[in-house]
Symmetry: C2
Subunit: 126 residues, 2 copies
Amino acid sequence: MTAIREAALLPVADETVCGPVVTEVPLAEDDALALAAVLSALADPVRLRLLSVVAAQGEVCSCHLQEPLGRSQPTISHHTRVLAEAGLIEGDKRGKWTWWRIVPERLSAVRDALVVIPNGQHGPAG
Amino acid sequence: MTAIREAALLPVADETVCGPVVTEVPLAEDDALALAAVLSALADPVRLRLLSVVAAQGEVCSCHLQEPLGRSQPTISHHTRVLAEAGLIEGDKRGKWTWWRIVPERLSAVRDALVVIPNGQHGPAG
DNA sequence: CCTGTAGATTGACTGTTGTCGATGTGAGTC
DNA sequence: GACTCACATCGACAACAGTCAATCTACAGG
């Protein structure tokens, strides 16, 4: 999963002609798909709140998610599955319960992949 | 849009009882919704590649997106609209064409909102 | 004005996703 | 071994999102 960036100093298009500049796409299709997949896992309010609980608690079993998130047991199970498949959380079966914890590197990777411009700075060429 | 984090040292749940710990959700529902909205805008491969083109070129008019992204004109228009409504790009109508550019602060805000654990570190309690 | 063009909007279609009730599964418990 | 409990899976349904053909809008140039 490479960064969106990759090139940053290509010729800026003309203001009057707007001809066929045949721009190449810095982000490859495969990388875009992979990144979009993780972002899709993140792009749900229930899952974001779920993540926030897991992050805050360090470790949470599924039974402790149902009530604070106000969703049914199958729905919670669905969301943990989505997050786990995206590599954002990891489940640990201990005894009767499944304990979930954040995979911090994964979230870092997402953040890094979103670095289009180094920390808020921007400048096409000038 | 606050960070997912917010608390990080709450009592870790017991391993045997798993009682009603009544976890509070650090991320408020409104914040989760707002963050999810921006992430939804990002969670599409075509839009990610579109962003990468805009970021690389500095400024791009819509007509230069259609071909490299392999999508029809209405589809490109749809995607630019989604990104613009999420505040991730800004459009500038100059003459016949609309020129798009990144709103870097917005992307930075998303990255910042995803800081659950300070840069890859983690540790529930010890 | 009339025409050509950039691109926004509409409408329709399809595939995907969030949700829950019902049911299955597999590990503890008596 | 039967029961219980935590969780996964299934089936169904409604809402949403990506796509394009067709159409509308607005601007530029004659």
